[in-house]
């Protein structure tokens, strides 16, 4: 599995170093045009013993982890976590344009295809800091062709699609409410996979992420 992501040999190593340097340069240029960069506090790797999908309240969000804005800070604990994705906020909305994980399944909500922006040979769209081939959050083994993003959580990874679901049949998207001007939506469909988990609600015209 590791050989799928880490090319071997001196030529490949040289290529990786060169591509990394080029990418870092380009990302630096991009950063100069980007909005405010997120702070970079000390990052702690995910503890291995915590690797599991945990969703006791079945709201489709991991009970111990999520990073809805992709700033590298666990929204559940406020602690920075170790990761390898980059920060880019070209539209200045305070959300990372490259990586977000609103359902906390350790897979990029925005993209599921193989992506290696920093040229380290690893897929940037899954949280796997130690490159052991397992998702740092859920512990699921993944491959380049299948990040298993739709196995847990309410986000349909890749397109962020949010189908309208009303399982309790009350005519409203399941268990949604407004607080102030922010539209919240949590579901109760037991387990929260992309196949059946609660879907993220959107405020009219804003499409804001639940935060």
């Amino acid at each position: 599995m590791a050989s799928d992501r880490l090319p071997a040999g001196p030529a490949s190593l040289a290529f990786r170093i060169a591509s990394s340097a080029v990418f870092m340069l380009l990302s630096g240029i991009g950063y100069s045009f980007a909005a405010e960069r997120a702070p970079a506090p000390q990052r702690v790797p995910m503890p291995v013993e915590k690797r599991a999908w945990l969703d006791r309240d079945t709201d489709g969000v991991h009970d111990l982890f999520r990073d809805a804005d992709g700033d590298g800070v666990n929204d559940r604990t406020g602690a920075a976590y170790a990761h390898r994705f980059l920060w880019l906020d070209s539209d200045g909305d305070g959300l990372n344009d490259l990586f977000r994980d609103a359902d906390g399944d350790g897979v990029n909500d925005l993209e599921v295809a193989f992506r290696d922006r920093d040229g380290d040979g690893r897929d940037d769209n899954v949280l796997d800091y130690d490159a052991d081939g397992r998702n740092d959050v859920t512990g699921l083994a993944y491959t380049r062709g299948d990040l298993q993003g739709n196995r847990h959580g309410y986000i349909a990874e890749g397109d962020g699609s949010v189908p309208w679901v009303d399982e309790d049949g009350d005519g409203l998207a399941d268990d949604c409410w407004f607080q102030g001007e922010i539209f919240h939506r949590h579901g109760s469909r037991g387990g929260g996979s992309a196949a059946g988990g609660p879907r993220q609600g959107r405020k009219s015209g804003a499409g804001g992420a639940e935060r």
Partner: protein
């Protein structure tokens, strides 16, 4: 070993097996959740031409769930119902359950199984209705798509009345539910269930003859349509049609207001209803619902105070012979205000509610109408 003793032993055995079969996954974040609620109700009812005194009822509930493992859940809940004007009606419930769940097919298939028990205790007037109930259940859920699901469930329960062994019975329910949410923001739900109730003892009929232990059986189908009118407004309508294809002798069931022995197997009929739900700003949810219910009691006429009562008050105040037939019209309204703190895991909900009910029956005793208003709060963590 009698069936009354066999079933709890069987349930306990299944519980042990379920516990042994659950994968020993790391208990990441084993935790508790729960809540408390209290609601004060005031009722003003008119029975026939007699106005009841205002009834004040305090309904307190508590619940607790423990998740020792992502596949396992244990829960307990309790309820205290206090009739402030007549403490003889007080009653309490205590319920406990353990269930295990599995998921497969990348979460598209889910299985849940478990065992639960209920203990009900009544004060004074309703002491004979004390019961213990043990049930096994298994359910499966299949996601064809995120917006198209099918659920099936089976329940096997046994209820024991310590002071009325002739009311002991086993129940079996098989149910299914199909739900489809459409891009037009319309949801369609089709559900159905079949149930059987087997009494364990036969009792002498009015002629003093003892036959086989009776049975009751019911099938029911329901359709519900929900339509989103906006993100804040939703409407729904439902129709339920059920028939008892086997009925017990209603005479064996004691009569009385809110008789707990009158269950789903006592009557059949149709329900028509509609509701409008509105999410107001500031986290306030309201719903106005109305329902019309047509109920038939196909068993033999009830007996009250030892006197057979085959004669009912019919249209134009005529005495008629036949089965009891009720119609119920009910309108409900509630408003919930949810208050969440910095952690959404804790929330406080305030509720105000009002309900108007009118019931007409071929038996004058069951003809009544009245108002119930209530207010309460709940806290969840």
């Amino acid at each position: 070993m009698t069936p009354r003793r066999t079933f709890p032993a069987l349930a306990l055995g299944v519980l042990v097996l379920v516990g042994a079969a659950v994968p020993a996954a790391p208990a990441a974040g084993a935790d508790l959740s729960g809540g408390l609620s209290a609601e004060q109700l005031w009722a003003q009812n008119v029975f026939g031409t007699e106005i009841s005194p205002a009834d004040a009822v305090l309904d307190g509930r508590g619940w607790l769930a423990w998740y020792p493992d992502s596949h396992l859940r244990a829960g307990a809940s309790g309820r205290l119902v206090r009739f402030l004007d007549d403490p003889r009606l007080d009653h309490d419930y205590l319920q406990g359950s353990v269930e295990a769940q599995w998921a497969g097919g990348q979460g598209r298939r889910r299985l849940t199984g478990g065992v639960s028990g209920i203990w009900r205790s009544n004060t004074d007037l309703y002491t004979p209705y004390d019961y213990r109930d043990v049930s096994l259940f298994a359910s499966g859920k299949l996601y064809f798509t995120p917006a198209f699901t099918f659920q099936a469930r089976a329940d096997l329960a046994q209820r024991v009345y310590p002071e009325m062994s002739w009311e002991d019975a086993r129940r079996v329910w098989l149910s299914g539910r199909l739900n489809r949410s459409l891009p037009t923001r319309t949801s369609l739900t089709l559900s159905g269930r079949v149930g059987w109730k087997d009494y364990e003892e036969a009792v002498p009929d009015t002629a003093g003859l003892v036959g086989d232990a009776p049975q009751a059986a019911l099938w029911e189908v329901a359709v519900q349509v929900g339509q989103s009118l906006s993100e804040r407004v939703g409407a729904r309508a439902w129709l339920t049609y059920g028939r008892l294809f086997e009925a017990t002798n209603v005479a064996r069931q004691l009569t009385g207001f809110e008789n707990p022995l009158l269950d789903e197997f006592s009557a059949d009929g149709e329900r028509y209803g509609g509701a409008l739900k509105v999410i107001l700003p500031w986290n306030c949810t309201t719903e106005l619902a109305g329902e019309y219910i047509n109920l038939y009691f196909p068993g033999e006429p009830s007996t009250r105070n030892g006197t057979p009562g085959p004669a009912f008050i019919g249209p134009d105040d005529l005495l008629i012979l036949g089965q009891r037939h009720d119609t119920v019209t009910r309108v409900k309204f509630y408003a919930d205000k949810r208050i969440t703190g910095s952690s959404q895991a804790r929330k406080l909900t305030l509720r105000a509610s009002a309900e108007w009910t009118r019931q007409e029956s071929t038996e004058l005793y069951w003809t009544w109408q009245g108002w119930t208003v209530g207010g309460g709060l709940s806290f969840e963590f």
